[in-house]
């Protein structure tokens, strides 16, 4: 119905060219235009973090970003995250530590945690809690999520097997 605009950007390491509504947010573009549904709608107003993605390595709420603003950027979603060594390690840590229950907040948590680990290699629990403050979880009480991220940061380096996953 509304005006379309063509954009080019990199999504999870792959160059994309898309026509998107100028009023559309990045979350709807990812879910409805691209068809990657790992990024979740939780509130649509930047309060819950379920839609967290990384744009040029910075985590943000995709519901608050216009799709057209992805032009020329490097966008990573949870689907791309777990292809990378740190993302793979995070996923294993989340699974192993019981950080996943209903799982709806999990992709956003992982994106935020990955961003945190990029900035703080070995965060302590207090640092992780602050880092995840903007991501709501209703099931776990956060403790196991914090444990998972701290443990992941505690790893000295990724294993060769994990490194092999890297493209």
């Amino acid at each position: 119905m509304s005006l379309k605009h063509e954009i080019e950007f990199t999504l999870n390491g792959v160059k994309r060219k898309l026509a998107v509504d100028v009023t559309m947010n990045a979350l709807d573009m990812l879910r409805e235009v691209v068809g990657l549904t790992g990024t979740k709608y939780g509130c649509g107003e930047g309060e819950c973090g379920a839609c967290t993605i990384q744009v040029d390595g910075v985590s943000l709420n995709s519901c608050l970003m216009f799709a057209v603003d992805c032009a020329g950027r490097n966008v990573t979603t949870v689907e791309g995250l777990t292809d990378q060594p740190r993302g793979e390690a995070l996923r294993e840590s989340f699974v192993e530590h019981g950080a996943v229950q209903c799982g709806f907040c999990t992709p956003g948590m992982m994106m935020q945690a990955d961003h945190l680990l990029a900035k703080h290699e070995h965060p302590d629990a207090a640092c992780v809690k602050r880092g995840l403050e903007g991501n709501l979880c209703r099931c776990t009480g956060y403790k196991k999520i914090v444990d998972a991220v701290v443990a992941c940061g505690g790893r000295d380096s990724v294993t060769p097997a994990q490194a092999g996953v890297q493209k």
Binding site: E45, C48, R91, F94, C102, T106, E133, G134, R138, Y142
Partner: protein, 804 residues
């Protein structure tokens, strides 16, 4: 491995029980691969949207949908007038999905649209014109019972002449109600007059419990489609698919056999998906009219406005004890704000009265609830089901009575705590009971006695930072609850030629980890690793009947059912093996994927090989079994007496806080919990349940407050409705008391609801310990705490009132 090595291989005993087993669905969920209902689209699918009331309480004078119908891309627009066969929904059948003639709350559904896109559907809603005539609003249950109160469901319904096409019927939705009392519950054992006469100390207070809501991270949604033969397929978030199959059939006036419910993974439940809501029925109406699949998803704002809440309660409790600390009586009156319609919230007295009558030994108990209609949101079931509210009152009175007779609160609780073997006045029979161990464990691990005395001594000392410690106990059903004709669960188990198991269970997975724990129980019986199992649990056309995920019942009931099926499979396998190895079945066992000699652990044959031999022989056979487990509990009688659960869960939590008396701000420092869980099955899973429940209880106690003023919700968003965030969680020290329940699967009892029950009560006791001030109203926000500490909170007294 050579054949000879294989032959003499000894398989050491191993067990999956009590281990930390990662959830089977976690890898997909942590990769963004899991397809929730939001992620599913069907070919040809339309999008449904609902027009809700612009008024709180009003007559609908007219609805004009002509402009909406004319909008390109709109397929169907419906109002009540378009659905002449609408049937009332809800626990009291007082609720039409599309409102007829009258709206009674802000969430009320007036019209619905199915269109090519969500945007078009939303644009169409804006074109619908509704004329209203306002009615007086009842925003408070105390006003609802006044003699001159406006009736929320006047009789005969629709006497105003606006009830077009309304069919005859006897439900409240059809006939109305002559007063505003939706439901009442009256229970008694003993004689409270005698109890009071025997008392040396008596306390009476009014407690006020507020609105909170589930806030599932995944918003509500549904996809409905009809096939050419009129069969219905629904993708639904329900926690109770088999009950809903029957109910949806009633609302569509079709045979239940024509309804198939598929349950994609859900983004949180907590009780919210236990009832049928108008949007689900409306989605079906749209799909029927459009002859296309219709998907309906809420926005977050809609999720707040149109989801159920926890039951708000006004409660006056009178309790007594003797000088020696023996409890004598309890008299309880509660006023439940039912909202405009009746859902499960109104029935929370089922659980509340258990806590009043049976958490401690009380010889005399008198309990009354009236759930009354208002124009507020209506309350549904929410983890704990009334028990948070009941425990908030009881456990404060435990401390207050103890103080009154000069007894230590810990000793006072121990003196009255239940033991195994007791049968309570309400007829609950405690077979396994680790209650006293819960109390002593939580107390010793938190150093309760020393800190309690120290904090009390510090109350009057200078300084604005005060520490407090408080405890609360809880009793909850832990072996199902016999509310429906059956409290059972069915299992179908099949083994393939490679010794892989497919477990087909009626039990729904709602994120709590049931598929993993059920797999553990089956693999434990069959001596297989978790990787050998596939669980099917999401399709009513395939899975056997189960009453649903509620009452903390799934591990207990579905677990026993799964074990039953696995034992039958094992029996069949061992019978075949015994013949082959010329011994008795008792000489053999299954372990590590082999048939072994039970005494030595010697591996005799790979299980997969044995199964293939069984299959590919002249008298070919497969191992496939079924089992239906019905717990040995009973229905309560008309006086609410009876042993309603096969087992009971116990717990005690100690809360430590720091109060800033200058600001009213409270920091929750630590929660020490001890829970009688029967036995730990999956340590990772049970820790997650407890931690999540504690933090949900923290939100109820301190931060969450769904503000409703005269029926209008003030904060339908996460900015103003404050969920607990990661930095605010307390240190948690959780101990598991393993009382090994005789009926429980491997000794386990249900625990899903237990951890959120004690928090608010223990927090209130901690505030009193820190400051000497008692708070009777939730939540403990800085403003409320500040006012209470500075004498600005008038003491509320609600005069006990009993519906005639």
């Amino acid at each position: 491995m050579t054949v000879a090595e294989k032959k003499h291989r000894i398989i050491e005993p191993d067990s999956l029980i009590g281990k930390r087993i990662p959830k089977m669905d976690a890898p997909d969920k942590a990769s963004g691969r899991t397809r929730y209902i939001h992620d599913i689209d069907l070919p040809g699918q339309l999008h449904g949207k609902i027009l809700r009331s612009a008024r709180i309480h009003a007559l609908i004078k007219s609805i004009d949908t002509s402009a909406a119908k004319a909008l390109p891309g709109v397929h169907v627009v419906i109002t009540a007038a378009d659905i002449p066969d609408q049937r009332p929904i809800g626990v009291a059948k007082d609720h039409f999905p599309l409102k007829v003639g009258r709206v009674r709350s802000e969430r009320d559904e007036i019209a619905a649209v199915a269109a090519e896109s969500e945007e078009i559907a939303e644009a169409a809603l804006k074109l619908i014109k509704v004329e209203y005539e306002d009615l007086p609003v009842i925003g408070n249950p105390e006003d609802s019972i006044k003699p001159d109160a406006v009736l929320i469901h006047p009789e005969p319904h629709g006497a105003d002449g606006t009830h077009l096409h309304l069919k005859q019927g006897t439900s409240i939705a059809h006939r109305g109600k002559a007063d505003n009392v939706a439901m009442r519950f009256d229970y008694a054992h003993g004689d409270v007059v005698q109890g009071e006469a025997e008392s040396d100390a008596v306390v009476e207070d009014t407690f006020k419990l507020h609105y909170v809501t589930h806030c599932c991270m995944g918003v509500s949604g549904m996809i409905a489609e009809f096939d050419a033969a009129g069969n219905v397929q629904m993708y639904s978030n329900t926690q109770v698919p088999f009950l809903h199959k029957r109910e949806f059939a009633e609302y569509l006036n079709i045979d239940p056999a024509r309804i198939r419910i598929i349950q994609p993974p859900i983004g949180g439940g907590f009780g919210s998906k236990l009832d049928i809501y108008p949007f689900e029925v409306i989605c079906l109406y749209l799909a029927r009219a459009a002859k296309r699949p219709v998907k309906m998803l809420f926005t977050r704002e809609e999720e707040f406005l149109a989801s159920p809440t926890r039951q708000p309660v006004l409660l006056t409790l009178r309790s007594g004890c003797k000088k020696d600390g023996t409890l004598t009586f309890r008299t309880v009156h509660t006023l439940h704000d039912n909202g405009a319609y009746t859902s499960w919230g109104a029935t929370t007295p089922f659980v509340m009265m258990q806590t009043f009558s049976s958490l401690y030994r009380v010889p005399h108990c008198d309990y009354h609830t009236a759930a009354v209609y208002t124009n507020n949101p209506y309350a549904g079931s929410f983890r704990g089901y009334g028990n948070l509210q009941a425990t908030f009152a009881i456990e404060q009175h435990m401390d207050m009575l103890a103080a009154k007779i000069g007894m230590d609160p810990l000793e006072f609780r121990m003196k009255n705590a239940q033991d195994a073997g007791e049968v309570t006045g309400q007829g609950m029979s405690f077979k396994s009971c680790g209650f006293k161990e819960c109390i002593t464990t939580a107390a010793s691990r938190s150093d309760f006695a020393r800190k309690f005395a120290e904090n009390q001594a510090n109350q009057k000392k200078p300084g604005n930072i005060k520490r407090g410690i408080g405890m609360a106990s809880m009793l909850h059903v832990g072996g199902g609850a016999k509310i429906y004709p059956s409290d059972g669960c069915g299992t179908i188990l099949k083994m393939d030629d490679f010794a892989n198991v497919t477990l087909i269970t009626g039990a729904s997975e709602i994120g709590q980890g049931s598929e993993t724990v059920l797999s553990q129980l089956v693999c434990e019986e069959l001596g297989l690793p978790i990787s050998a199992i596939t669980v099917v649990n999401n399709d009513t056309a395939i899975t056997p009947w189960d009453v649903g995920v509620h009452a903390s019942r799934t591990t207990f009931i579905a677990g026993n059912s799964a074990i039953g099926a696995a034992k039958k499979a094992k029996g069949k396998i061992l019978a075949v093996a015994a013949k082959k190895f010329d011994c008795t079945e008792a000489d053999l066992d299954l372990r590590g994927g082999f048939v072994i000699r039970a005494a030595s652990g010697e591996a005799l044959v790979e299980l997969s090989k044995l199964l293939r031999n069984l299959h590919f022989q002249e008298k070919a056979e497969l191992v496939m079994t079924t089992f239906y487990y019905e717990p040995p509990s009973v229905h309560q009688d008309k006086g609410f007496k009876g042993d309603v659960s096969a087992a009971y869960a116990w717990g005690n939590q100690v809360v430590e806080i720091e109060v800033d008396t200058d600001t009213g701000f409270i920091r929750l420092l630590k929660v020490t919990g001890a829970h009688d869980v029967g036995r730990v099955l999956n340590r990772l899973g049970i820790e997650g349940q407890i931690e999540g429940g504690v933090v949900m209880g923290q939100g109820y106690a301190f931060t969450e407050d769904l503000m409703i003023e005269d029926g209008k919700m003030k904060n339908p968003n996460f900015r103003d409705y404050k969920l607990v965030t990661a930095p605010e969680i307390p240190e948690m020290d959780i101990a598991f008391i393993e009382s090994m329940d005789g009926e429980g699967p491997q000794g386990a009892k249900g625990v899903g609801e237990a951890p959120s029950i004690c928090m608010a009560a223990a927090a209130a006791n901690a505030i009193a310990n820190a400051t000497g001030t008692r708070m009777f109203e939730l939540p403990f926000t800085p403003e409320k705490v500040y006012r209470a500490l500075h004498g600005q909170t008038p003491k509320r007294y609600w005069k006990p009132w009993k519906a005639e």
